[in-house]
Symmetry: D2
Subunit: 343 residues, 4 copies
């Protein structure tokens, strides 16, 4: 059994991790920390877990985590980079669901996250945990930066096109729609149901923190410069990401359906839909799955990719567990075979 | 392995049965019928099941079902009563998720369902499949009438009070709120999102088909006449039932919390919340679970019970599988241990 | 033109007052205060008002309000009772949308609102502003306590029954469902869409502040003791109140439909639906209107009243303007003739 | 008073027309037709209109419409083109909310709408009723083709850029998100709340009927070939359109904010938001208004326009009334000054 700890168990990615790990046959939950709720029973805060977990939130201290084999950070940005060095030194492997180790360039991190990076010396070692792209690097990793919802959907959607060189690398557009749980479990006026229910808006059009991460990812697959416009939208649903991706084809002769099916033919968590299909976020709700369709409207040279995930599963906690499975040489699908909840 | 068939696999209870049975370690799915979609792959209609089920819908014919050990009817009312006799004669056990075998009195059935009952001779044998109330009768049953969402929530909420004689049997009120998936997967104007979203209404206040079923259930626990007012409401959410139940206490000295905890202490799927709690439908979403709280406002003689279930799980397909587990002497929780999806 | 001021213009009842008053032909908006947003243009905070109002939020100071004819308090409880005495002394009339002057008994106020009442000497003078019940007292009033959403829906629904003596005054039940805007425009975890969307729960079953207010109202119409159980529910919609009311008839011979139609025959804002109807909150969205239906299920002695309002209009700001119209001898419907937004 | 008729009063655009025309000071409603509900009182079908309209639905016959000054067609595509010739011959002016007279080329109409056009001889005369673009042609028109939700939002958003030649006409992308009322008030599985609630999907990516209409509109402002990719999405809200538009600037020196403000400076129904703003569909709910913001992310050469409307008002019935006001030389804003409903 893998002994696992969770730092920051009170947010949505934390409770989703709990839901998945409780049902994971090879994991024993050792510690769940919360600065604000230390001492409280986890199931008192989350009645959905009553009877299935008998742990109290503890303070986020190294001492309570060092006997874990792996510690997940489901924390705000800036926490993992302060605790990871000591945990790694003690032989604990670390999976960060936040952004601390996603960007390779510490200056870029500082630009987008507003403070100097606390341990730039680990950035080179950190492995970007998008298994469908980077699977071979994950088993040996001590420190995995598990990507979040926007970067996962956008990169999985663009990967076959950029890797194959089928599209021009400039003028890429990612118009992405997110459910409100992506804003996290924190009190903010804009996340009130009376504010975001029955409404829709774009935000951060001027520049969103996930842009450099996506750009960095796409750039690893091509020698050309990636030029990407990324516009996130807040939509009135709780879970779900729908990425609508646009790129211009170098040749209209490419068999896009085959390209996508081939790219993901052996992936357990990426499902390429039949030609002409339109994925719906509801079909992946609660599941660790990305469903993708590729279109070429009016047989022109613009390709449109539609990619959906559940932001809290394949876009966060499910992906983190997928990384853990790979790190510990378990079957990649262990604990991740739940079907989507429909309707 | 239990060989199972589903008649009527294209509705919401049908696809929820599929979701649960696909994850059930002791079940092998043999047939899924649909008159309208025969020949279509199940996963083409339900993309959430892609890769997890390799069955096509077949026509609802006896011949395709007789080698099943058990057949679930996730059909409209009136279907099971026409097919059950022959299946039973062939040794196939039957679990009906519709109303055909819930009422013991065929005249009452005709009154509420608008046609004569097609096989009144089986009504006496049919076992009412609310395990928490009627568990001992289920293992030997050939034919189980699995109760639906309203009757399950109302009966589980009232049971401790009526069985113990703590409340007067008259003046009972069940004010129940349902999500829209309870209306089924069929085209009807009132179920359009533009009609029922962001709105709330009562319906069938003059009399709802579930009233006689609930009354029949409560009456089995007391020799007094049950007098119940049942008002269902349509609420703008997809899944969930919230029953708010009112009764007058014979004595204010009753320790209601203990009464409820004692009643359900060994039930795997009924969770009595601590005193003062308010259950929330989201905490049982996707789970085969009823969460209950009992209140006595202002220490008066009115007791208020709050009971929540997921209408498609404990209020339909999960309960049907719970019945199957009991009928086939499996562990009652097999295949039913999924946690609720929160948020 | 009536010169009007609004204290507390940044909450939902404040912005709804602005929407109504901007379209009111006899009102000139003089001041809108906000402690937190003083100096900000009202239309910067509320883009829906851009181009229709050219006022900045000011600090809530008496000096800026004394040249108003009337001041509305759309503030949290406890504000109006501290500012009203001075405004009244200066000849400004006051309409409080909060609870400060609703309860006649200052001890009861202290019990339910947790602090001593700041000006109990005005309680006797304050007029309870439910026009359909108390219209004659309003024109001469200097200080009106405009009732909120729950008390309005429950009292309008029960009034014909209690006033006529048609029901027993004990065992009354008000099971009421509210949209989330009733919780106000303030950051609180439970009002996040990810928390309250797609879910439903009761709250404050042990005792809610509106209970004594409703009880006080019902008691003025009968000499018998009112015994009422009030259970509020939070439901996943933004606007709307649906009250489901239960009472036991003294005689089943009462013609309930006529009783209700007669009671409200000349009311511009109460609409008694035809026998057998079920009101839907969507039909009063944005309108200053209460739609009511009365049922007697199975011809028994239990009466069920269904009453719907928009919590922010007839349950708050529309009602306050209705009171203003009466106070200033305007046509009662002035500025309040907007139709409901459907769908 | 203008005598007005509505053909097809039972859909969402029909009832929204009723809501607006009831409050319009210069209009007298003469006839509202419905094939399916002839003889039924309008307010029986739409309880939100009770007490405000005293008309019954009549059959859609020319005889009942010829004494109108103007007839609105709120019908499915293909109805107006069959009735308009006779009405025009009788001197009745016609405003079509459907697509019959939007495309100038009858072959293109046949291609996209699947049947030959019934009166191509009127296509040249028909005026495209987007007042902000085409105002001068509307007063004299006998027949106005009032554009729908997608074309309105997309054209208003692109107009300043295309007209000024600021962007290249190729590679244009319109990624548009619609609320579900856009699908109309008709029973279809995909519009059930259990199907489209809490979910999001693109549809008709291969080609949507509004594409040629938008392309035709944009083409009138430039001599260059317009190349546009249009991807509509169904989003889980009832009302609202959010268009996110992408184009490549010919020069990064253009002052986009000024360009937009100048274009719409005297438009009563187009509101250009301050630089950096993100419009929210809720702020135009129920209002005849388009709110627009323009962005240039990372100071690059990609321009992103965000435009929101209420699909049933500025995207349908409000715009139709705006056209009527212009046709009959009324103040353009008559009957259209309702503020948006927030929250």
């Amino acid at each position: 059994m893998i002994k696992a700890g969770i730092v920051g168990g009170t947010g949505y990615t934390g409770v989703e991790l709990l839901r998945i790990l409780i049902g994971h046959s090879e994991v024993e939950l050792r510690a769940v920390t919360s600065r604000s709720d230390a001492g409280v029973k986890v199931s008192d805060l989350y009645p959905s877990l009553r009877g299935h977990v008998d742990v109290k939130f503890s303070l986020p201290q190294i001492g309570g985590l060092v006997d874990c084999d792996v510690v997940f950070f489901a924390t705000p940005n800036g926490t993992c980079m302060r605790m990871a060095p000591e945990l790694l030194a003690q032989g604990v492997r670390v999976i960060d669901l936040a952004a601390d180790f996603r960007l390779k360039n510490p200056q870029e991190w500082e630009t987008w996250y507003g403070e100097p990076h606390a341990c730039p010396e680990l950035l080179a070692e950190a492995v970007y945990g998008l298994p469908e792209i980077n699977r071979c690097a994950i088993p040996g990793a001590r420190l995995v930066a598990s990507p979040g919802c926007y970067p996962t959907a956008v990169q999985l959607g663009f990967a076959p096109l950029v890797k194959s060189g089928a599209i021009f690398p400039s003028g890429l557009i990612a118009d992405v729609k997110s459910g409100v749980s992506g804003a996290g479990r924190k009190t903010q006026l804009s996340a009130l149901m009376a504010e975001c229910g029955e409404s829709l808006k774009a935000y951060s059009v001027g520049g969103h923190r996930h842009l450099p991460e996506i750009r960095q990812g796409l750039s690893t697959w091509t020698s050309e410069d990636i030029e990407l416009t990324f516009v996130p939208h807040l939509t009135p649903m709780i879970r779900g990401i729908h990425a609508t991706l646009y790129g211009r084809l170098k040749s209209t002769g490419t068999d896009l359906q085959t390209l996508f099916e081939h790219q993901y033919s052996s992936e357990p968590f990426v499902d390429v839909l039949p030609a002409g299909a339109h994925p719906d976020t509801r079909n992946v709700k609660g599941a660790n799955r990305c469903q993708i369709a590729v279109h070429r409207p009016q047989d022109g040279d613009m390709v449109v990719v539609l990619a959906v995930i559940d932001n809290l599963v394949k876009g966060a906690s499910g992906q983190a567990v997928q990384n853990m499975n790979l790190m510990f040489q378990l079957e990649e699908t262990t604990g991740l075979d739940a079907l989507g909840i429909y309707p």
